[in-house]
Amino acid sequence: MLAIKPYRPLEGKRLALVIGSGAVKCAAALGLWKVLSQAGIEIDLLVGCSGGSLFAATMALGMDVDECIEKTQRLWNRKVTEKRDMTSLLRAALPRVFNFNERFGMIDDQAMVQNLRSVFGEQTFEDTRTPLYVVATDFHSGEQLVLSKGRLVDALRASISIPFIWPPWPVDDRLLIDGSASNPMPVDVAIKDGVEIILAMGFESSYPRSVSSISRFAFHVNSIMTNNLLKANFAFHNLAHHAEIIAIIPEFEQPVGLFDTSKFPYVIEQGERAMQEQLPYLNRLLAAESSQVK
């Protein structure tokens, strides 16, 4: 007897793209998308975490590949990182005098928020053409929070609140931080939605060559923990669930720093290459009879 789940649409299998955290490296998703567009394959669901959420959102709004490249370059450039948040730094050094609180970040986030507004305006999740989920972390409980309602600017700003870099961001009555603190490559969100095939693009954080300040040390330790969390979560989801998960992990021979936006073209190319390698397998999965999937 064939067990066909009721949610499966008749026309075929649903495909999700999950873009994990990885700052500038997340632009590799645009390379992946280029390959899918050329092959005429559509994405039915987008999930993004941290840097990955920016790319997932532009894709979900239905922009074409070139437009996405242009918009995301506008979002993420040297300008957004050049202004240090002096108040935060002073508060850290002299907590009592300057009334330190948990909304701490080393970099002034005004430029980033402005950029997000200029690209996404007042658009909400309801305006997306493809369903979109954005993953953030509840700052107080440490648990994963999946956002699928409200203004895109808020969800994205929350998801990219890299610890120590950008301050947490309030959404409704919760204070949120970077999704990578709970789930750096959230394949489980796509699994729960019931899609049949998941493309999971993830990135390991790279470590700085040397550590010269306490905030860099903190950042280094966070990168180690993000990587260990990525591996542990992926191992679990891969083992526990039976959706087809195709991991696409681009390789970068050149170092790509956290704000190395000049590497965009190189990163996109590597994403393209990584997707090309998996394309025959994806095509095979898409072509297979639904009835073969129990």
């Binding site: 948990e102 409980s141 610890p163 789930n183 470590y207 306490i214 966070n222 923990m225």
Partner: protein, 282 residues
């Protein structure tokens, strides 16, 4: 399958959790009273102290008083002024730095472990730390115990990393906060794993508090993810013991230790009938 006294042994895994790890002494006491032996001891971070004490076969009373002497708040001396100097750039902070002078910690560890090596233990001992550069977990099973424990408890930013075997090492909790996988790989059949979630703060008034909070979030999420995986992937029997603390326990809260041990005993007693059943069925 034969049953007998020989088989009445469990592998003990003690996870990270600072002072809370003392609850392992309550578990150990419960096992001893039930005449259940320890076939191996595995520890990460604060848990490594107790894994080592158990593997060395110290008397429980001695272990308890050593614990109280160990976790006192004067360990943190100099912390605030060093933090200020590091943030202002007055003091250079590198990957080898920590905010407290670790000599005192080292001396206390030396009081507990002296010159003991892994070869001196009554049962195999494995201690987990993390490679500072690759981020991977490192399992120690040879050499001076003090080196392994010192590396394993190197809480990021507070204690400086520790060099052993040509590698720079930090806190085991950064990669493997509850190293059940080590017990499985080393052939543990019945594994009793005591783990702790790190405390979550509601208000944060300093950079250090925020840093500690981020660490807690990550470590708790790594704990859950690795535990979910090991539980699913392996067929060894894993009995998780997660003591509940109604009172807030912070690091260096040594007067809480009797309470912590008591909660460890209580949690262990709850699982004892199940452990017994597993051991007699074989």
């Amino acid at each position: 399958m034969t049953t007998g006294i020989d088989q009445k042994r469990v592998a003990m895994v003690i996870g990270s959790g600072g002072v809370k790890c003392a609850a392992a002494l309550g578990l150990w006491k419960t096992l001893q009273q039930a005449e259940i032996g320890v076939s191996m001891a595995v520890g990460s971070s604060g848990g490594s102290l107790y894994a080592a004490v158990i593997a060395l076969g110290y008397d429980i009373q001695v272990a308890q008083s050593m614990t109280i002497d160990f976790w006192t708040s004067d360990l943190m001396e100099g912390y605030t002024s060093n933090l200020r100097a590091a943030l202002s750039g007055e003091e250079r902070f590198t990957e080898f730095s920590g905010l407290i002078n670790d000599q005192q910690v080292y001396e206390r560890l030396a009081n507990v472990f002296g010159q003991h090596t892994f070869a001196d233990t009554h049962c195999p001992l494995y201690i987990v730390s993390t490679d500072l550069y690759s981020g991977e977990s490192v399992v120690h099973s040879a050499g001076p115990i003090i080196d392994a424990v010192r590396a394993s408890i190197a809480i990021p930013m507070i204690f400086p990393p520790w060099q052993a075997g040509g590698r720079w090492l930090v806190d085991g909790a950064v990669s493997d906060p509850l190293p059940i996988d080590v017990a499985i790989k080393e052939g543990g059949e019945t594994i009793v794993a005591m783990g702790f979630e790190l405390p979550i703060r509601s208000r944060m008034h300093s950079y250090a508090a925020v840093t500690g909070h981020f660490n807690s979030i990550y470590m708790n999420n790594i704990l859950k993810a690795t535990f979910a995986f090991h539980n699913l992937a392996h067929h060894a029997e894993v009995i998780a013991i997660l003591p509940e603390f109604e009172r807030d326990i912070w690091s260096f809260d040594s007067n809480m230790i009797p309470y912590v041990i008591e909660e460890g005993t209580r949690a262990a007693e709850k699982e004892l009938p199940y452990i017994r059943r597993l051991l007699t069925i074989g």
